[in-house]
């Protein structure tokens, strides 16, 4: 059958379908979709007649538009239908559900679904997420247009192409396209975190599982501790370990500290040994102290190397380190001697020794310094990071300004919860 034009699913629900003689076959109850080439396509209509359900395959349709739907089959040749979990039904599985709009980076609710004819197929091309869709479902679309005309404004269409849709239900991912997955991974981690915090934990977890490891690691640290714990607990240990390994050690420690002890232990065991040791060390500090905020991911060089050597080394080392603006100068026992800022390093004569240009009077904190005090020091001296040393002056780690800001102003996804 050829179907040209377009229609909204709510416009044909409850419409009678006629057989070749013009007799009523039943009323449209739902529509089955299957995976198509570019878009999901309609494979059959489900008709309801006197409480029994019939399956009318797409090929059996003769006319299909919002005024008339007719079939070239008689009711005897149609098979009865029974609802099952395998089929994907537009009304049951897509209508009213939440979906991620990867283009707009937000969670939307499906008010209606738009079908369009292409090459004798009916394709699911877009979902209606706007007021117009709600009005149409309620049967007020005309009325809404009239009301808006009084204000001299058109009732806007708010359609989002299926190309940008990332379903949250694992079942629907069967008909989702590969495009949204890539788009989602390109979103800013804070946007991903916001999406996850807007949906239920179960949906959030299934959405999260679809991300690649790198994006997942970045997005995870933007989430609330409870949500982090819920998502990681729900994951297989190997996958969870991959993500945790990708995170900076201080953030990894934060996530692990909120997990049940046995789960955290299992994850630590599957992480590369060196990384796991770093994390373990950080885990031993109280959460609201410098020790709890610090990361042991920093750059430290011996005093005797030259500026030129330091720059060469820096090129290699800086790739894996989060905060690179200060180079700490330590003796072989890791005792902190001083600091050289990146700027000073670049401006210094290449053959000078680091020991000649280092600043030895630097501000430090101990692991048990209160987090608010750390914030005050960082703010007072305009630092990007502050070293954490023990009482004997051995360097343990650094607290970076982004963690300090989180103390004063929790990150958006954590602060701006939808919870009331």
């Amino acid at each position: 059958m050829s179907f040209f034009g377009e229609l909204f699913v709510s416009e044909i629900l409850g419409k009678p379908v006629l057989d070749p003689k013009g007799d009523d076959l039943g009323k449209v109850r739902d529509i089955i979709v299957v995976r198509g080439e570019a878009f999901p396509k309609v494979s059959a209509l489900i008709l309801e007649k006197k409480k029994s359900l019939l399956n009318l395959p797409w090929a059996g349709l003769n006319i299909f538009n919002k005024r008339i739907i007719s079939s070239n089959n008689y009711s005897e040749s149609l098979q009865t239908y029974e609802f099952n979990e395998k089929d994907l039904l537009i009304v049951r599985d897509i209508f009213d559900k939440q979906i991620v709009d990867a283009n707009g980076a937000k969670v939307v609710r499906v008010n209606d679904v738009k079908l369009e004819g292409y090459d004798s197929e009916a394709l699911l091309i877009a979902v209606d997420v706007g007021m117009r869709g709600i009005m149409r479902r309620l049967g007020f679309e005309r009325g809404g247009e009239d009301v808006m005309r009084i204000f001299k404004k058109p009732l806007p269409y708010n359609l989002i192409s299926w190309t940008y849709m990332q379903p949250l239900e694992p079942k629907l991912t069967k008909i989702s396209l590969t495009v949204p997955r890539q788009m989602v991974s390109e979103l800013h981690p804070a946007d991903i975190a916001e999406i996850i915090s807007q949906v239920s934990h179960k949906e959030g977890a299934s959405f999260f599982k679809g991300l690649d490891v790198e994006t997942a690691a970045e997005a995870l640290s933007e989430l609330e501790p409870e949500v982090q714990a819920a998502i990681i607990t729900d994951m297989e240990t190997d996958k969870a370990a991959d993500i945790i390994e990708e995170m900076p050690p201080d953030e990894a420690a934060d996530v692990l500290s909120d997990l049940p002890a046995d789960k955290a232990k299992k994850i630590l065991e599957s992480i590369e040994k060196e990384e796991a040791e770093d994390i373990q060390e950080l885990l031993s500090h109280e959460e609201d102290t410098a020790g709890g905020l610090m990361t042991n991911d920093f750059i430290a060089y011996p005093p005797e190397i030259s500026v030129k050597e330091a720059i060469e080394k820096f090129r290699k080392d800086a790739e894996d380190v989060e905060t690179v603006y200060y180079l700490y100068i330590t003796d072989p026992d890791e005792k902190l001697l001083g600091v050289v800022s990146l700027r000073e390093l670049l401006l210094a004569p290449p053959d000078a020794k680091l020991s000649e240009i280092l600043e030895s009077k630097l501000k430090t904190v101990t692991p048990d310094t209160d987090e608010i005090e750390v914030a005050e020091i960082v703010s007072k001296y305009n630092l990007v990071a502050i070293p954490v040393v023990d009482t004997e002056g051995f360097m343990l780690g650094i607290v970076t300004i982004d963690d300090v800001i989180d103390v004063i102003l929790p990150p958006s996804a954590k602060r701006k919860r939808r919870k009331v």
Binding site: F95, D96, K97, Q98, K106, V108, R109, V110, N111, V129, I134, R137, L138, Q198, S200, H201, K202, E203, E226, V227, A230, T233, P410, S412, R415, K416, R417, R418, K419, V420
Partner: protein, 407 residues
């Protein structure tokens, strides 16, 4: 599990049930209990027992749905019953909660007048503070305020004890009901149930549990939280009735408002009781005014799929911000306009609440028996008998309440 571990689990999931219970005693609830005590002494105390049982049965189901599905009630209704049912329910909720907020601002205005502040200053001040606190402040600030505010409710317990009631009579009347077959008495007892079990608190409880992300393993601890919360609500009501029943009833003082109770208590029980009543009313009213508009805006926008969040601007989330702002601004203006139809609005809100409740409860029990959603956590046959029994009686009583409060 060791006792300590159990306690630790409980502390981690505690909150939603207890906070919901506290907000449940808002201005209109306190009014009902004060009036009941002043008019009928201790003789209505027994109604609190069936009310508590009904509240526990209903809230336990709601809490269970929150834990198992991780979704709010408006979410579930939209996803399972479509846009029509949701739209009209949300419209009803909007009107009812608008009336609730009017009652809360009226309570705030009256208590401020008793404490010697002019309402023309305190109502705008309260409204603007709430708006700024929620939109510009952090949720953490709101949460801390909510938790501390719970302690102010202890004031009612203190005033109840200080009123020095005849405990024998109190206990006797609580457990051995002596029903008076007078229409006013019956209306009052139905009103107690009507103000205690409201539609919006079901939405509020389920969302806050879902949001907290309590896992199924900790469901028992969460149930304890809900049961404790329900009990707290009615213990507070109990002491309000006792205070008014001991101090006002013997003198035949009739009151119509919670604020009148505070005033009437002054010559009889001294400044302390009056002060406690006024401060507690102010607290309850303001809490209600913080939570109800915000909750309304969230459920409606969540159900309809509109952008939501207190950090959003009017441009990003127009529906959310307008619903939230107008449900604060209009009621606070109405309270200040002399001759505004406040009583009409409050009655309208009560009626709509009463009409909405049957639908909310029936949806709730249908959803909780949905295997696809709840898996092994559906109601057992016994639970279903109890729940249906409770729901049918509550529906019957609220409809009766609606009918009596209109005519």
């Amino acid at each position: 599990m060791s006792l300590w571990k159990k306690i630790a689990v409980f502390i981690s999931v505690m909150g939603p049930g207890i906070i919901t219970a506290n907000i449940d005693n808002d201005a209109s609830g306190i009014t009902t209990y004060s009036v009941a005590g002043a008019r009928f002494g201790y003789s209505l105390l027994w109604t609190l027992i069936p009310t508590t049982i009904a509240l526990v049965v209903i809230q336990e189901m709601i809490g269970r749905m929150g834990v198992v599905t991780g979704k709010g009630l408006s979410d579930l209704i939209r996803e399972n019953y479509g846009v029509k049912a949701t739209f009209f329910m949300m419209l009803g909720l909007l009107i009812a909660n608008f009336g609730n907020t009017v009652a809360n601002f009226a309570g705030w205005a009256a208590s401020m007048e008793i404490l010697g502040f002019t309402k023309y200053m305190m109502v705008p001040f309260g409204a603007v503070t709430i708006w700024i606190l929620v939109t510009k402040g952090s949720y953490r600030a709101v949460e801390i305020i909510l938790l501390y505010a719970c302690f102010i409710f202890v004031g009612y317990i203190i005033s109840g004890v200080m009123a020095n009631p005849d405990w024998n009579a109190v206990i006797k009347q609580t457990f051995v009901p002596k029903i008076q077959w007078k229409s006013e008495y019956i209306m009052m007892s139905i009103a107690i149930i009507g103000t205690t079990i409201t539609p919006w608190m079901q939405f509020y409880l389920q969302s806050s549990i879902a949001e907290k992300g309590i896992s199924k393993e900790h469901y028992k601890a969460s149930r304890l939280d809900v049961i404790i919360g329900c009990s707290i609500t009615d213990i507070i009501s109990f002491f309000i009735i006792i205070t008014c029943g001991t101090l006002l009833f013997p003198y035949g003082i009739r009151i119509n408002e919670a604020s009148e109770a505070a005033l009437a208590l002054r010559p009889l029980a001294g400044d302390y009781a009056s002060l406690i009543f006024a401060i507690s009313l102010a607290n309850a009213s303001l809490l209600g005014a913080i939570i109800v508009p915000l909750a309304t805006a969230y459920y409606i926008c969540e159900a309809m799929g509109w952008e939501r969040g207190v950090n959003k601007t009017f441009k990003d989330a127009p529906q959310f911000m307008w619903i939230y702002t107008l449900t604060i601004a209009l009621p606070s203006l109405l309270v200040l306009i002399p001759g505004a139809p406040l009583v009409f609005l409050m009655v309208l809100s009560a009626v709509i609440n009463g009409l909405l409740l049957p639908f909310v409860l029936v949806f709730a029990i249908l959803l909780i028996n949905n295997k696809k959603l709840m898996g092994e956590f559906t109601n057992s046959r016994m639970q279903n008998y109890i729940s249906w029994g409770t729901i049918i009686s509550v529906i019957f009583l609220t409809v009766a309440w609606v009918v009596t409060s209109v005519f």
